[in-house]
Every structure is written in structure tokens, then in C-alpha cells.
């Protein structure tokens, strides 16, 4: 791997922790140093545990320390999951064998093995969610504690499913652990990059177009579903968006936009702004690779120098990204959809998924662009 200046995306260990810590009923132990523990703990706002290994354990082995910590956290009725970090992973210890006397989930996901998504999926594959034919409803996947919009996404999709009279199945990954083997037969997604592969996938909830298709699919798949109220809502809210964007375009030119996010969110933002605001999508810098063809310039941008280069090359009016992008946006205006979103207070649960997600995105973009247009130069 070439060197990377100011890497912008977390490692596989953090991804695994984000997946596991989303389940009530799992106690997650980060098997590694305090440095590897503190970052996911502060990022995920989850009560993780750690082995906090020292040099002594590197030399003489970490088995005793691992058993010590497991002994301290067991007995709560929760299943224990151990996530390995870089150093334990290369010590050559047979951690699986060490843990054979405990009923423990082991996820081997050291930071050097890849990025956040790789660790998230590694943990998910160990949990091995299964569908249960006796469970009715729709699962929601693509949920991650790392995502500042996850809580809003879950609430919004639950609301839409309730509107259609459809029970909620398993939420991956923000649910009770004892439900992992009882997923519903069908799934809809809030973030395609974190798709679970559990059940029959009926579609995405990002954007009006995808949402309409997905709920149409739900209507076909589930006899109990009455999706017409949701489809009516989508039409109504889409009309509101059209009117708001049209009003903006009567006074101002469309924004030229640079978008930096995970591929799924970036593509959603690009399509939405293109469709409703005739925005010029100058570039997409994907944090996690290019997952599918999109009609916009797109490249992988995992370091801050990549972001600076792209912004410098295209001089956008509007930058969409994380607080990293906000720091290097220059004269452009900014809205945040990508973690981390530091330096501002965020208490409300805004979504990006569902109808409310589109409304939030458009509202944020229009307000930011109007503030920029109206501010004295």
C-alpha cells in the first residue's frame, strides 16, 4: 500500500467493533493496547471492554490476560465477543484455542487487514445472521454505530414500515443479539456499503426513486403490506422538494458540488442533488472504493491530500463530507453527511434514509447555499 497522508477512514478493527457493539447482549472486548481501545470507544459511544495488553504480554503471551478480562466481564448473561488488534494478530498465538473453554465469539480483524467495511463484514460473517421463516416482516440493514445518521435512519425506516403495516425484522447491526438467528425473509437497506446479505434484498431506502421501487417491491413480496400510504407520502414529499429547489433556482444558479463519503452515501447525495437541483457534480471522493458505475467523476479518496487535490482541482461551491473536508473546503460552503462530524453539537437524530432523509439533505444544501449566496463577499 502506498503511504497515505492523514488517513480519513477507520481500520478493520473499528469496523468489527461497530458491528458487534450494535447488539444488545454482546460484550465486546478489544484485545490489544489502550490506544486501540480508546479510539473505537470514543467514536462509537459504546461501552467496550479492553485487555489493555502491555509489553509483558507481547513477550510472554497474552493468554492469561485475555482469560483475566473474560473472567471479569462474564456472568452478566451477555455473550462475549473478542476482537483482535494488530499486535495480538501477529504474535502467533492460537487465540481460538485459548478461548476454547469459553463460549466466546472471536473476530480476527486486525487494523492492517483492511478498512472499516472489511472489519464490519468480518464480524457480521462470524455472527452469521439467519432468516427464520416463522418471523414476519422486513429486516433493515446497513446500520452502523459509526454512522452519525444511523439512529435517524433506523427510526425513519421503522416509521415508513409501520406506515405500510409491515413488522420490523432484524436490524443489522442495532438489535438484540438473541434475534440474530431470527431474521425475517426480506431485507431493505440504509447503506449499501454495509449490506448484510441476509434474506432477499428488496432495495435501498436512500432517495425517493429507490424508496419508491423498494416499497413497490415490499408490496409485491408481502401480502400484509399496504404500501400505498408510503408511496403517497413519497410523491407528496418529492413535490415539496421540487418546489423548494425550483424556488431556489429562480434566483440562483445550481451549486457545483464535491462529495466525499462512503460510496453509498456519496452516490445518493450526487443523484439527489443532480435530479432536484440540477447540481453540477464535479467530483466524488469515495472513502471505500467504487462499488458501481455512476454518471459522475468518481475516485477513491482515503487521505486528506486526496481531498485537498480534488477540491483544489474543481473549486466547488459546495463541499459535502466530514469535518475533515470542512477543514479544507476553502471558500466553498459545507454540509456534513460523513463521519466524523466533529466540532459541532449534534443531538437530534437526523436521517439520510427514507423521505425524511431526502428532506434533510435538500434542506441542508439549500440553506447552506442560500447563506453563501446572501453573505457579503
Amino acid at each position: 500500500m502506498p503511504e497515505c497522508e492523514n488517513p480519513l477512514w477507520p481500520c478493520a478493527m473499528t469496523g468489527a467493533a461497530a458491528c458487534l457493539a450494535g447488539f444488545d447482549g454482546i460484550t465486546v472486548i478489544i484485545h490489544g493496547s489502550s490506544g486501540c481501545y480508546y479510539y473505537p470507544t470514543t467514536l462509537l459511544h459504546a461501552p467496550l471492554q479492553g485487555t489493555f495488553i502491555l509489553e509483558n504480554e507481547v513477550i510472554f503471551g497474552s493468554e492469561a490476560r485475555l482469560h483475566e478480562v473474560i473472567g471479569e466481564v462474564q456472568g452478566t448473561g451477555k455473550r462475549i465477543a473478542v476482537v483482535t488488534t494488530c499486535v495480538p494478530a501477529i504474535l502467533g498465538e492460537d487465540i481460538r484455542s485459548m478461548l476454547s473453554s469459553h463460549d466466546v465469539i472471536l473476530v480476527d480483524s486486525p487494523g492492517f487487514s483492511g478498512d472499516f467495511g472489511k472489519g464490519y463484514h468480518a464480524a457480521l460473517s462470524v455472527l452469521a445472521p439467519e432468516t427464520d421463516p416463522s418471523v414476519a416482516g422486513i429486516n433493515i440493514d446497513g446500520v452502523s454505530l459509526f454512522d452519525p445518521f444511523y439512529r435517524g435512519n433506523v427510526r425513519e425506516v421503522i416509521r415508513l414500515l409501520a406506515r405500510a403495516g409491515v413488522p420490523v425484522g432484524l436490524i443489522l447491526c442495532r438489535d438484540r443479539f438473541d434475534r440474530v438467528r431470527h431474521a425475517a425473509p426480506f431485507t431493505i437497506g440504509t447503506d449499501g456499503d454495509l449490506a448484510s446479505g441476509v434474506g432477499t434484498f428488496l432495495g435501498s431506502t436512500l432517495g425517493f426513486e429507490a424508496l419508491s421501487e423498494t416499497f413497490s417491491q415490499i408490496g409485491h413480496a408481502l401480502e400484509c403490506a399496504d404500501v400505498e400510504p408510503v408511496l403517497a407520502d413519497i410523491r407528496h414529499e418529492e413535490e415539496r422538494v421540487v418546489q423548494a429547489c425550483d424556488k431556489y433556482l429562480r434566483r440562483f444558479d445550481p451549486p457545483s458540488v464535491a462529495i466525499f463519503s462512503s460510496f453509498s452515501y456519496a452516490a445518493f447525495a450526487a443523484r439527489t442533488l443532480d435530479r432536484y437541483l440540477d447540481a453540477d457534480i464535479l467530483c466524488i471522493g469515495s472513502r471505500n472504493g467504487i462499488k458501481e458505475d455512476v454518471p459522475y467523476p468518481v475516485e477513491t479518496a482515503t487521505g486528506l491530500s486526496d481531498v485537498q487535490r480534488l477540491i483544489g482541482n474543481c473549486t466547488p461551491d459546495l463541499v459535502i463530507g466530514s469535518s475533515f473536508e470542512r477543514s479544507v473546503k476553502g471558500e466553498a460552503t459545507f454540509i456534513g453527511i460523513t463521519p466524523p462530524l466533529r466540532g459541532s453539537v449534534r443531538l437530534a437524530s437526523h436521517p439520510l434514509a427514507g423521505t425524511e432523509g431526502v428532506l434533510f439533505l435538500i434542506e441542508a444544501v439549500l440553506n447552506a447555499c442560500m447563506d453563501r449566496q446572501q453573505s457579503p463577499s
Binding site: N6, T14, S33, G35, E55, E72, C86, V87, F112, P340
Partner: protein, 346 residues
């Protein structure tokens, strides 16, 4: 702090050497810091430093370059990747490059010092860090400060004061600095430089100009001793804390610099009296403090405050928050009392 089950060995919780060192090296604004390890280590720390910078209303970002170790380098060695990363850093024309190792690089046994000594066009300075293998967060801070102190050159004393080893991640770092500057100004003493807080490589060379070093706290005593040996600069071991500590600080600093403290002390006592008058509404209250919950290991600073305001401390009293570190100067006490008042009147 998040729950953690095991408190049996406190040294396990002292943080990462790499993070400590990065809080220092990234404050040298015309340098690049190379982190020799997986990209995740650099990301974790970059994100932390960036977040802290935003809290301090600082929108500049640190220059951190990761050697990006993956499975291949873990197996066959990472020195080539480190060399590439240093070359990339040097190509950006910084005035200095700092190279920090990680626990993974230490475990696979890369010779970081040798790679740094390969004849680069700018100073490439290895700093002993190795994640948890290198010691604690504070050890990383000290290693970085001590190593960088070695760059100082002999220079003429100009009577200023150096501020040494500020906690750059501390939420109140600028407020604490401002309070020390205010106290020094009462004595007519200027600041030479903040070692190391937003300095250029050239400015580092001038650390020996000061007539006195004021250390942030006793955790950086080794740095003070190093600068005393190297530049002959005496030091005061910590920022002033509490009301009496602030007055003592004025006396001690004045003594060290050969100036009179009487006027400054009288002025500060008047400021303290006025400040305490502002909190007369909580005089006579009963409070409790939970040092385990609040994390502040040093209780001494609250005695003179509670005594001055006739506040009693009892287990059944209103629980009041304590700052993570002892409040610096009179201004620090004032901010603490505002939080106490909020709790008492809640």
C-alpha cells in the same frame, strides 16, 4: 470514561505513546510527522487531533503521513515502506520530518533509526515511540519534547519566559495559557515561546533564549531538567493552581527572574477577593466531591477555595464537578466556581 472492568494494573490505562508524541510533533507547523504502522493508527490519532483542534477553534490540520503497513510488510518487513513514506514527506519540502513508530512496527522489528539516518535533505528525526510498547501517553509527550529539545542551539538570554509541555489536547489549553500570560504580565515578564505549541522549526532553535522555563506540570520535569542541562535555564515545575498557589507562583517566578513581586501579589489578591465576592451567594453551602468520578487526583486546590467561601465538604453535600486537571490561576478557580454554582442551584 467508558466502563472498563479491570483496574488491577493502572499502567494499562495510561494511553498510547504514539498519541502523546503526536500531540507535540504535530504542533511544529512546518513539519511532517510520519507514523510507521498501519493506516488505522494514523487515522485514529489524526481524527483525535483534528477533533481537538476544532474544539480549540483551530481549523488547520496536522500533517501526518502513514507508511500504511499491510499484511505483506508485516511478513517481510516495513522498512521499505517507511523509506517511501519519508521520501514522500521530504518531497513536500517541510523544514523537519519526525518519524514515530507504532507497536506493530516495533513488534516486527523494523530499524526505524537506520532508515531515518539515510541522508535525507531535511532533518529526519526519529522519536522513541512504539504505541503501548513504548510506555504511556506521557512518555510519548516527554520523548518528543526531549528529542526536539536536542534541536535547540546556544543563544543569548533575552529575559523572556518559556512555557514548557502544555497539554495540547487539554480542552482549556488556551485559557490556561492566557492565565499564565496574565500573571506573568503582572510581573512585567514576556513569553519567549510555547515549547511546543504551534511553533516553526526555526523557532524551536530559540528555546534557549529564555531566562526561565515554566513547566505545565511535574509530568514534564524530565524535559525541564534536559533544558536546564542543555541551555542552563532554570524552571518552575508547574502552572499555578488554586488561590494560594497562584500567589506563591507570582512570588516564585519573581524570585527566579530577579524582579519584585509585591505589587503583582497585591493586585492579584484584590482580583481574587473581587472574584470571591461574585460567588457570595454560594458561601456557606455544603458540597461533596467525588475524586474517583471526576478524575482529579489533587484535592489540595479546593481547600483554600472552600475555606475562603466557608463551604463545607461532606458526603451528603451537593455533588459538584471538579475539572480534570487542577484549575490554573484565579481564572481557573472562577470557572470551577461557576460550575459549582450551577450544581448547587440546580
Amino acid at each position: 470514561m467508558p466502563s472498563n472492568p479491570s483496574r488491577s494494573n493502572s499502567c494499562r490505562f495510561e494511553g498510547c505513546t504514539l498519541t502523546g508524541a503526536l500531540t507535540v510533533t504535530t504542533s511544529v507547523r512546518d513539519s511532517v510527522t510520519v507514523v510507521h504502522g498501519p493506516a488505522g493508527c494514523a487515522h485514529h490519532n489524526f481524527s483525535l487531533l483534528h477533533s481537538t483542534g476544532l474544539d480549540h477553534d483551530c481549523i488547520t490540520v496536522p500533517h501526518i503521513l502513514s507508511s500504511g503497513l499491510l499484511d505483506t510488510e508485516i511478513i517481510f518487513g516495513g522498512e521499505k515502506a517507511l523509506g517511501q513514506a519519508i521520501a514522500s514527506a521530504v518531497s513536500r519540502r517541510p523544514k523537519s520530518v519526525f518519524v514515530l513508530s507504532t507497536c506493530i512496527a516495533e513488534t516486527i522489528g523494523d530499524d526505524v533509526t537506520a532508515v531515518c539516518g539515510s541522508g535525507w535533505d531535511v532533518p529526519v528525526i526519529p522519536i522513541p515511540t512504539a504505541g503501548f510498547l513504548g510506555g504511556s501517553f506521557q512518555a510519548g509527550v516527554n520523548n518528543a519534547l526531549t528529542t526536539i529539545a536536542g534541536m535547540a542551539q546556544p543563544c543569548r538570554n533575552d529575559g523572556g519566559i518559556n512555557i514548557i509541555g502544555e497539554k495540547n489536547l487539554e480542552y482549556e489549553v488556551e485559557q490556561n495559557y492566557a492565565e499564565v500570560v496574565r500573571l506573568l504580565s503582572l510581573l512585567g515578564l514576556p513569553v519567549n515561546l510555547r515549547f511546543i505549541h504551534n511553533l516553526s522549526t526555526a523557532e524551536i532553535m530559540g528555546v534557549g533564549k529564555a531566562s526561565l522555563n515554566i513547566l505545565r506540570d511535574e509530568g514534564v520535569a524530565g524535559v525541564g531538567e534536559r533544558l536546564f542541562r542543555q541551555c542552563g535555564t532554570p524552571f518552575i515545575p508547574a502552572f499555578p493552581t488554586g488561590l494560594l498557589g497562584t500567589i506563591a507562583f507570582l512570588d516564585r517566578t519573581a524570585d527566579a527572574c530577579g524582579v519584585q513581586s509585591r505589587t503583582a501579589v497585591l493586585e492579584e489578591l484584590a482580583i481574587q477577593e473581587s472574584m470571591l465576592d461574585d460567588f457570595s451567594d454560594i458561601a456557606g453551602s455544603c458540597i461533596s466531591v467525588d475524586h474517583l468520578m471526576n478524575g482529579c487526583p489533587d484535592y489540595s486546590f479546593i481547600h483554600d477555595v472552600t475555606e475562603a467561601l466557608h463551604i463545607s465538604v461532606k458526603p451528603e453535600g451537593t455533588r459538584v464537578p471538579l475539572p480534570v486537571s487542577a484549575p490554573v490561576g484565579t481564572a481557573g478557580v472562577r470557572r470551577m466556581l461557576h460550575r459549582w454554582r450551577r450544581a448547587i442551584h440546580a
